[in-house]
């Protein structure tokens, strides 16, 4: 909310500069996001000296003045009675700008040219002088001086962020009250605003009061605990005086008319929303506060028509709703320039009810903002009273007859009794970690309480009606801390107690994956969880049903990613479009699917390999394209701690993103699918505009984080030397390596074997391939003899011949 520094000073005798005030506010818990300085509101106005005054040749009540501004003489037409030769006066020369937005031009008034304007206080937006007419300055005022620097009122406007717990500070009085507690200075007594203080001296004599013409009935006392109506007769609704308009403009409001402006003024002044109805537009003799009926609607002051629901509280006349309670008034009953009789509402509406309606209809007003945060039911009468005084003064018709106001009708079906908060000062100290003397605590709380009673060691704190947020000793502790200053809270060393943090298997797994993938050249990606329907379509996996967002930021962020692969494809494509075609990226994060009608999220790790690796060409190590075996190797190495895994052909789930011939699902020994890896499907690459083949993997970390194997026991290394033999065989192309490996597995004394060469070509013959296997023989108990190794080798070869049709390749 915007606060005018000058306005605050109407309540509080402070002369702290606005910058310092803003720092103090921050340390009290009110962030000031901006400070604007407002100029005097007019420019081009100088001090003039009236040389001569003549009667206007063509008008009885006008004067023709010869004025000097120190450098030149001007001829100015003026209508004020107090104009006299020799006076020093503010002169708005041609080109001057006045606070109401008016700029002075050369004009002919009744046939005589006027080269400017002699101004009144009101015309300059200043506090009016005791009498009407032009502002007469002291005779010693230097002629030609800039009137703005002499007279102009400057102001600072502070944009203060009032937290939701402090609706009592959503007004100038409220914030001034908070500061008065903090600085321990008394608030000034509430008086009429400076702008009209002097003229209020001539307040109307008490005329015969009209009797209230409307009955007030509250049908839903839970939603409206108080309603004060006050009727006014004999109003003149027109533009507001400049001081009022400027006040409203300083806090960001647009002046509308004096009646509406007064309600807005009181809202920013005291924090209590008001509404003015045109009394003659209200039908029937009763004003009802009731839930809306189904089918009812209201054309509101914003020009829109709202369909109402029974959950909305409305103000209704004999024909139907005339306002949405606490939110917005109706247009047909609003105050206009023609209004002469008005009904002023000052009510208390329940926060939740106002909030529900304001949300539902999407209407946020200064009024609803305050009601939904909570207003002070006690302040309703003060606000009504203050508005009445202003209306009587400012809405008087030109003939000087002040408006008549009826006695207020105050209907109050509910009165909330608020219990005292009982607290020992020691309790406050225990919360804050302070050692404040009891008197200090009692004194501080006393400044903000309705009343504080000392009862032994206990304080009975009665919260003021505007502090609904104070309910517990913790709330009072915060008040004490705020006002003594959080910088006065001691800084205790962290309450360290020997305490071993519990290990977290998921985090351990994630760190280990990050470490390994980092070492293998993968950089870590972080992606948004939101994807578009187009992204989903480009994945081409219709069986992955994504979770939908009810209120997405935009249509292209309406779904949650069903697989991490979609994020990596996006990232690869992003990089590729920027010339980086060779990337290795991985991401650890959540993906989301609808499973059995429920939203399921799962933690995964996925990686993508595009183009060549290493990423940059090197004179010695030539990059090579990433292929199926690169990604398979990554996955095998990653999963090494999880024991033996099986790679199985599958096109389900994530596996559907992979090349049908060069993609595999990964399963545990028990057959649980935990991921997939391989080359990405060529159609997918095309849809994502990736020109190079790309490989990828994805793993389900929820499955992997489950208790990993116990640490495997140490195995003693053989002290005997290994014997290494290469075995080259030829088999049919269709024979898989896994079949060959199966034959070798049980070979006597064979410690390990690795395929070291795979060759197809004319030497071998069509439909054949050759494999060279390096076999390492080793025993734990003794040195092997060559003859034993040869026998094992022969046995293996015999099994290969039988099971795989292998033939020993002569080399």
């Amino acid at each position: 909310m915007k606060f005018s520094y000058n306005w605050l000073r109407e309540f509080l005798p402070i002369d702290l500069p606005a910058d310092d005030l803003s720092r103090r506010l921050l340390l009290l818990g009110f962030e000031v996001s901006d400070i604007q300085t407002l100029g005097p509101g007019f420019e081009g106005v100088v001090v003039g000296h009236i040389l001569e005054v003549h009667k206007h040749p063509n008008a009885d009540r006008l004067w023709l003045c010869r004025v000097t501004d120190g450098t030149s003489e001007l001829s100015i037409v003026c209508g004020a009675d107090n104009v006299s030769a020799g006076a020093r006066v503010p002169v708005a020369r041609v080109g001057a700008r006045l606070p109401n937005g008016r700029s002075i031009e050369r004009a002919k008034i009744r046939g005589v040219e006027s080269q400017g304007m002699i101004c009144s206080s009101a015309e300059l937006g200043l506090a009016p002088s005791a009498h009407d007419g032009i502002l007469v300055l002291p005779p010693e005022t230097p002629v030609g001086a800039d009137a703005a620097s002499l007279l102009g009122e400057t102001d600072a406007v502070l944009e203060v962020e009032i937290t939701p717990n402090r609706p009592d500070c959503l007004s100038h009085l409220g914030l001034a009250r908070e500061l008065s507690i903090h600085f321990d200075v008394a608030l000034k007594p509430l008086s009429l605003p400076a702008g009209i203080r002097s003229s209020a001296a001539s307040a109307p004599a008490a005329n015969a009061k009209p009797a209230p013409s409307r009955r007030i009935e509250i049908k839903d006392p839970d939603a409206c605990s108080r309603y004060i109506a006050r009727e006014f007769h004999g109003l003149r609704v027109g533009p507001s005086p400049v001081w009022l308009a400027r006040r409203l403009e300083s806090v960001g409001l647009r002046p509308i008319n004096n009646l509406v402006d007064i309600t807005n003024f009181v809202l920013f002044d005291l924090g209590h929303p008001l509404h003015a109805f045109d009394l003659d537009a209200l039908r029937g003799d009763t004003v009802l506060v009731r839930p809306a009926k189904a089918g009812e609607s209201l054309r509101a002051l914003d020009g829109k028509t709202y369909a109402l629901a029974p959950s909305d509280l409305v103000i209704a006349d004999g024909t139907g709703p005339v306002a949405i309670a606490g939110v917005i008034g109706g247009q047909p009953t609003g105050a206009t320039g023609k209004t002469t009789r008005a009904l002023l509402e000052s009510a208390h509406f329940e926060p939740a009810s106002v909030r529900r309606t304001s949300r539902r209809l999407g209407i946020r007003t200064d009024s609803s903002y305050r009601f939904e945060r909570g207003t002070d039911p006690e302040a309703a009468s003060l606000a009504s009273e203050r508005a009445a005084r202003l209306i009587e003064t400012l809405c008087a018709p030109a003939d000087g007859q002040a408006p008549l106001s009826a006695d207020p009708t105050d209907v109050r079906p509910r009165r909330r009794a608020r219990p005292c908060i009982e607290v020992e000062p020691e309790r406050i100290n225990r919360i804050l970690g302070t050692s404040l003397p009891a008197q200090t605590v009692a004194g501080l709380l006393g400044r903000m309480a309705e009343s504080v009673t000392v009862k032994g060691a206990t304080l009975q704190f009665r919260p003021p009606s505007y502090r609904a947020d104070l309910e517990t000793p913790w709330d009072l502790a915060e008040e004490v801390a705020r006002h003594i200053g959080y910088d006065q809270i001691p800084q205790e060393p962290s309450p360290v107690r020997l305490h071993a943090p519990k290990p977290n298997p998921t985090q351990t797994l994630m760190s280990s994956l990050r470490e390994k993938l980092g070492a293998w050249g993968f950089s870590e990606a972080y992606s948004y969880d939101f994807i578009s329907a187009d992204h989903r379509d480009r994945l081409g996996t219709p069986e992955l049903s994504p979770v939908e967002i009810l209120n997405p930021l935009s249509e292209d962020q309406a779904l949650l990613r069903p697989t991490l692969l979609v994020s990596l494809l996006q990232s690869a494509s992003y990089n590729s479009n920027r010339g980086a075609r060779n990337v290795r990226l991985f991401e650890i994060g959540k993906s989301y699917r609808v499973e059995n009608g429920e939203a399921a999220e799962s933690l995964g790790c996925a990686g993508i390999l595009t183009g060549d690796f290493p990423r940059t060409p090197h004179w010695k190590r030539k990059p090579s394209p990433s292929d199926f075996f690169d990604v398979k190797g990554v996955v095998e190495s990653l999963l090494e701690p999880y024991g033996s895994l099986r790679f199985v052909a599958s096109q389900n789930g994530d596996a559907a993103c992979f090349h049908p011939k060069a993609g595999l699902a990964i399963a545990t020994e028990r057959g649980r699918l935990i991921g997939a890896a391989g080359l990405l499907h060529p159609a997918l690459l095309q849809r994502w505009d990736l020109r190079e083949p790309a490989a990828a993997f994805c793993l389900d970390l929820d499955a992997l984080a489950e208790p990993a194997d116990r640490p495997r026991a140490f195995a003693a290394m053989s002290p005997f030397p290994p014997i290494v033999r290469d075995l080259s065989i030829t088999v049919d192309d269709g024979v898989s390596y896994s079949e060959i490996a199966a034959c070798l597995k049980d070979t006597e004394s064979l410690a390990s074997f690795d395929p070291v060469d795979v060759y197809t070509g004319s030497e071998i013959g069509a439909g054949k391939k050759s494999l060279t296997l390096r076999l390492t023989f080793l025993r734990q108990d003794r040195t092997l003899r060559d003859s034993e190794v040869q026998a094992s080798l022969n046995g293996a070869l015999a099994r290969l011949e039988k099971a795989c049709g292998a033939a020993l390749r002569e080399s």
């Binding site: 340390l27 009290l28 818990g29 937290t163 939701p164 717990n165 402090r166 926060p351 945060r373 225990r430 919360i431 970690g433 302070t434 517990t472 913790w474 709330d475 502790a477 915060e478 801390a481 705020r482 959080y486 809270i489 800084q491 205790e492 060393p493 962290s494 309450p495 360290v496 943090p501 977290n504 985090q507 990050r514 070492a519 293998w520 950089s523 870590e524 990606a525 972080y526 969880d529 979770v547 939908e548 967002i549 009810l550 209120n551 930021l553 990089n575 920027r578 980086a580 290795r584 990226l585 959540k590 609808v594 939203a599 999220e601 690796f613 990423r615 090197h618 004179w619 010695k620 190590r621």
Partner: protein, 361 residues
Amino acid sequence: MTAKTDSKAWKESWETRCREAKESLAGHATLEALEALRLKYLGRKGSLTELLKTLKDLPLEARRELGGPANAQKEEILGLIEASRGSLEHQSREREIAGTRLDPTLPGVPSPQGYRHPLTQIIAETADILGRLGFSWAEGPLIETNYYNFEALNIPAHHPARDMFDTFYLKLAPKSPEAAGEHGNLLLRTHTSPVQIRRMESARPPLRIISPGRVFRHEAVDATHSAVFHQVEGLYVDHHVTLADLKGTLHAFMQALFGPKTRTRFRPSFFPFTEPSAEMDVQCLFCSGSGCGLCKRSGWLEILGAGLVHPNVFKAVDYDPEAWSGFAFGLGIERVAMLRWGIPDIRMFYQNDIRFLEQFP
């Protein structure tokens, strides 16, 4: 031949061969020649070796007389050979080194190197610091219910504090209706605080947890706002925990994160789930408090939100607020990373531009 003549002849022969060996030792030029020489004289079938074997056929007296000096001479020759070998090897190495042709200014072969995301690094760092203060890592789902995200955290339905947390809702509702609340649907958690509730529900105090993770806010994305971001949140519950404990812990945390000279400022704030609530600022890392564009001329940077756990939060998890007290705090990871590295736009964290990612070794 008499024994005497034999001894004499043996001695002459020995000395001749020794002399020969020494002479040829001086003349050789290569390691190979040296080895040939060694074999010729002192190998298994070398002439000195052979002769020395015949010493045993001489009379005892001659053996006594000749044996000692002969062995000494043999050792001497061996020593000379070894010395010569050392010198030749040295020369050979020197030649090899001198002959090395290499441009050492060519770039080395890079080891494969990937990079942990800057946000991971900050999360790890904060978790490490807080781990040393005894906090354990706790996790929770990103898809949450109204209850855990709001109600249990003292943010009732229709409360204006909800405005602080613009929320993404899913089209799906939770299966159990009691989890529904104001808005029946599931939502994406707006803070990591639901983890506090879940943990307190399943464990008795004392507790010390952190819950780093991803959160979501329904707000328009720009250079400083992201609909997806990360928080690290801490919760400490024990007997007699005070605001002063919180202040001290946060100060220590900030000094560990931003350096031992970091100055902090503790000031009031509002969060529905803490009372009293606070924020901690650190003195601007760039201008050291004199005021710059980054700190909006204030000299301070907002970093942490915190407070003592609200009694209503304790009531929601069935902890007695009179018996237990605690504090909670949270900070935005992206903000710390942006400050740490001077990153101007929060969206960079989520573009995965390899040129960005490779800047954070």
